[in-house]
């Protein structure tokens, strides 16, 4: 069977167009349903075109591998809870990067005697990237799943050791390119890349995971594009670089929302000093705060005309999104205007809060981005903070010695009244004490977010 290569290329072109359209469709919720579908169609066309162009002898292996994909992939996608999406993203990145790393290795063994220096260099770089992303994604998964502590693992000279390992890995790669027959160097290089990826993500704290998984996403895309260069396959280059730029843009948005640079996120080890700062917070606990019970909160809310709810990762941990929606609905029934204000880095992955609230049937036009909601806080009667902390800390605006200084925050302190639902007085991830707690217009409600909100629902229903 011979197929005119022009048809194959035509299919590739259609696949590329579908990939581009799929990202375009994600610009609006209304068109977003076509995003996944068009990319899936593009992928199917790309795979079919490749199978037509390159005849695979071992059809049994091919069918088996794709069956594994269906058997493993379908239940993962259907069963994962929305609260666990960050972990799912991390583990699937591990899968994707291991795939590119293994394919890169296979190609290296396949071509090492025939390929030119350029191809071999790209392959070596691609393998380093693939293996480090694999190790990094596994650690990100372990941290998000709380198999290991989320706190950054730091020791003196951490960055020096990490960078040194990466340099050695690159050096081994250079030797490998110069002497491709020394294939024994390949596993050594891979192992060094794995160690670097392991150390890199071990040194990053749980709350920085939105940025980390975005960067790892970019690396997987870059690796796929590199494979495209090696195989002279345009579809791989386009899809890989679209993915690569997507990861970098998301990482940039995340780190800008924390007023930090990429380098600081990757090597800063923010959150490691928690013990020291927490000691300061204990001392600060002596400062008086005002606390309330659920029934008093219900009274305050009933007298409000506008309410903004600010959720954070704590809401996801307490699985409180449905109860929040119940509170919001009850308030709306009483004629109160309810909005949800979402900080860009709330949660453990970009956009996480939006998905959780959407799952609880909050209409997406009630979800407000930080930049749009902030000017409205002065006219807001009550701001309810649920499971968020650092992103509401006014120290980010006022205290230049705070680790949060300069970070854009939700200006909840400008609201007439702030209700802060929190388990205890413990500081946020940054280790800084939240100035908001001590403001005269702040009322703390201590307890598990879901419990407090359920009490609030009962109190609101009672009136």
């Amino acid at each position: 069977m011979t197929i005119d290569p022009a048809y194959i290329l035509a299919l590739y072109v259609v696949a590329v167009v579908l990939f581009i359209l799929s990202l375009r469709f994600m610009s609006d919720v209304k068109t977003s349903r076509w995003g996944g579908r068009s990319a899936a169609l593009g992928m199917a066309l790309g795979v079919v075109a490749t199978l037509l162009a390159y005849q695979i002898q071992r059809v049994d292996l091919l069918v088996g591998a794709i069956l594994i994909g269906f058997v493993v992939g379908t239940p993962i996608a259907l069963r994962v809870a929305t609260t666990a999406l960050p972990q799912r993203t991390a583990i699937s990145q591990a899968f994707g990067s291991l795939a590119v790393a293994l394919v890169g290795a296979a190609e290296f063994y396949d071509y090492n005697t025939t390929a030119n220096t350029f191809t071999l260099s790209v392959l070596s770089a691609e393998m380093i990237l693939g293996f480090l992303t694999f190790a990094g994604s596994c650690i990100a998964f372990a941290k998000l799943q709380e198999l290991i502590p989320g706190r950054p693992f730091v020791y003196p000279g951490k960055n020096f050791v990490s960078i040194a390992i990466l340099i050695v890995a690159a050096a081994v790669g250079v030797v490998l390119v110069a002497e491709p027959s020394q294939t024994i160097l390949l596993p050594i290089m891979a192992a060094l890349a794995l160690v670097f990826g392991f150390l890199l993500v071990m040194g990053i704290g749980g709350a920085d995971m939105p940025t980390v998984i975005a960067i790892l996403n970019a690396y997987t895309g870059m690796s796929a594009a590199a494979l495209g260069f090696v195989l002279n396959n345009k579809l791989l280059i386009v899809a890989g670089s679209l993915d690569g730029s997507s990861g970098f843009v998301l990482a940039l948005i995340m780190s800008q929302a924390m007023n930090r640079s990429f380098t600081n996120v990757l090597f800063g080890g923010v959150g490691a000093k928690v013990t020291k700062a927490a000691a300061g917070a204990v001392a600060a606990q002596a400062r008086p705060v005002q606390s309330l019970g659920a029934s008093d909160v219900a009274t305050i809310l009933e007298n409000a005309r506008s309410v903004v709810i600010v959720p954070g990762y704590g809401m996801a941990v307490a699985q409180a999104q449905h109860t929040i929606k119940e509170v919001g609905d009850l308030l709306q029934e009483k004629g109160i205007d309810v909005k949800y204000g979402i900080h860009p880095v709330a949660g453990r992955m970009p956009g996480h809060m939006n998905v959780l609230l959407a799952e609880a049937n909050v209409p997406y036009d009630q979800l407000w981005e930080m930049e749009k909601i902030n000017p409205m806080f002065p006219e807001t009667d009550v701001a309810i903070v649920v499971g968020a902390n650092d992103v509401t800390n006014p120290a980010a605006r006022t205290k230049s010695d705070s680790p949060l200084y300069g970070m854009p925050i939700m200006n909840v302190d400008k609201a007439k009244t702030v209700i802060f639902i929190k388990r205890s007085m413990s500081p946020g991830f940054s280790g800084s004490d939240n100035e908001l707690f001590y403001l005269p217009n702040t009322w703390m409600v201590f307890g598990d977010a879901k419990k407090v909100l359920s009490d609030l629902v009962a109190a609101l229903k009672a009136t």
């Binding site: 290569p5 799929s22 919720v29 396949d110 071509y111 025939t114 002279n232 997507s246 956009g351 939006n354």
Partner: protein, 120 residues
């Protein structure tokens, strides 16, 4: 140029040297640079509401590396390499399948304000 390459590879059974001219390289670089810029523009316009499904989507798209694995599968006769490439296909297809199902699942969660009847 590429037409010949695809044709050459289509009939190949043994590992072949990749015929890679400097012109190919320049074309590929051009494609790479332009799609990177296009990607930046596209992603900048993605609403923040949808950053989570976007990550699921790009994750699935990055598993386009399955195509590379398929090409290796078709070209190699070596057992080890065949296993590596098959593992690559299995991993990438897992990602593709779970990624696209997940995107569909997440975007369906987003509903607009109920008009007339309550959202269910």
């Amino acid at each position: 140029m590429l037409l010949e390459l695809v044709a050459a590879n289509a009939t190949a059974t043994a590992p072949t040297a990749i015929t890679y001219t400097s012109q190919d390289l320049v074309t590929n670089l051009l494609i790479f640079i332009m799609s990177t810029f296009l990607g930046v523009e596209l992603i900048r316009h993605v609403t923040r509401l949808l950053h989570t499904p976007l990550m699921a989507l790009t994750n699935a798209i990055s598993s386009v590396s399955m195509i590379a694995a398929l090409i290796v599968m078709s070209e190699t006769t070596d057992q080890t390499l065949l296993i590596l490439a098959t593992a690559g296909v299995a991993l990438a297809s897992t990602n593709i399948i779970s990624g696209f199902i997940l995107v569909e699942r997440i975007v369906r969660l987003f509903k607009s304000k109920p008009k007339g009847k309550p959202a269910k």
